[in-house]
Symmetry: C2
Subunit: 150 residues, 2 copies
DNA sequence: ATTGTTAATGCAAATAACTTGCATTTATTA
DNA sequence: TAATAAATGCAAGTTATTTGCATTAACAAT
């Protein structure tokens, strides 16, 4: 890891400075990991790669979220998942067999929020979280193979 | 509480029997609470009303979910919310100020799943979870009143 | 109705995710 | 290079959820 792309590095440093966050190795590695895996990661996963204290990771995730560099994703009730927040709004497809997560570009843009605003009677709707659950191609193949050999 | 509607009672008893679950007072009260509040509830809330052990509530929720009578809702990373599963598929609007939850009838039926299937490349998509976050009318009014008096 | 079987309950204690307090270290900036 | 303010990491605390086990209650068969 730590194959940091320069453009991205620049942007990150700028954002950190603007947010008055110090540029530390751990913070950098954390962002790098999220950048390179391109998938939502659990705190566990991040610790393993970043090789730092749990507490530090939690605190960094919190401050990076406040800065808007990192976003939390709701994939599982048990643990939180985090991803870089720089991509545009999107949804997720989660494989119920292997846990694979695919990004899905925002299916209907802001139409969803508008429709929900009307349907809910709320004063405003600022965001939504849309997660799909199913079986990915790989698992589907594996599962059907298993069932024929049994 | 415990103003049990007969028709519903019948259905529940039938379902419990089919699932080989005993019909116990706690289990009944639990279902009754979910039926009458009509909102997703936290385990905390349920315990307060059902007046039973936490563990019992968790175990009942689990078996009732397996039976398909109860569904878990993803409103908050910290704690799980539960609701009766007998209503048709719907979404939720959650007020970020007071926590109020409004049901929203399924906005676009199965179209969402179909679109996600295509976009994700999955073998199949079985369900989705769609939550909207915003400010409800009541909070909006309260908040704007507060800001004018300050 | 009574009894036997099996599931439901509740207590104690464990686990797991996440948080807080505090002392030490490190990044910035003057 | 020194001063300062934030970042780190250890210990220990919370909180949600789970597990083990003994007791109790539901129900099916007598």
């Amino acid at each position: 890891m730590l194959t940091i792309c320069v453009i991205h590095t620049e942007k990150i440093i700028e954002a950190l400075k603007k947010g008055k966050l110090k540029i530390t190795p751990i913070r950098f590695k954390l962002l790098d990991v999220l950048e390179h895996t391109k998938k939502p990661l659990r705190v566990k996963d991040i610790i393993k790669i970043v090789k730092s204290d749990i507490v530090t990771v939690y605190r960094n995730l919190e401050s990076l979220m406040k800065l808007g560099l990192v976003g939390q994703v709701f994939l599982d009730q048990k643990e939180a998942y985090f991803e870089l927040a720089d991509k545009k709004h999107h949804h997720h497809a989660i494989c119920e067999n292997c846990g694979r997560v695919e990004d899905i570009r925002d299916l209907i843009h802001h139409k969803l929020n508008k429709a929900a605003l009307k349907a809910s009677g709320f004063a405003n709707i600022s965001r939504h979280s849309l997660e799909f659950f199913g079986i990915c191609k790989q698992c589907s193949a594996k599962l059907s193979k298993n069932s024929t050999t049994m």
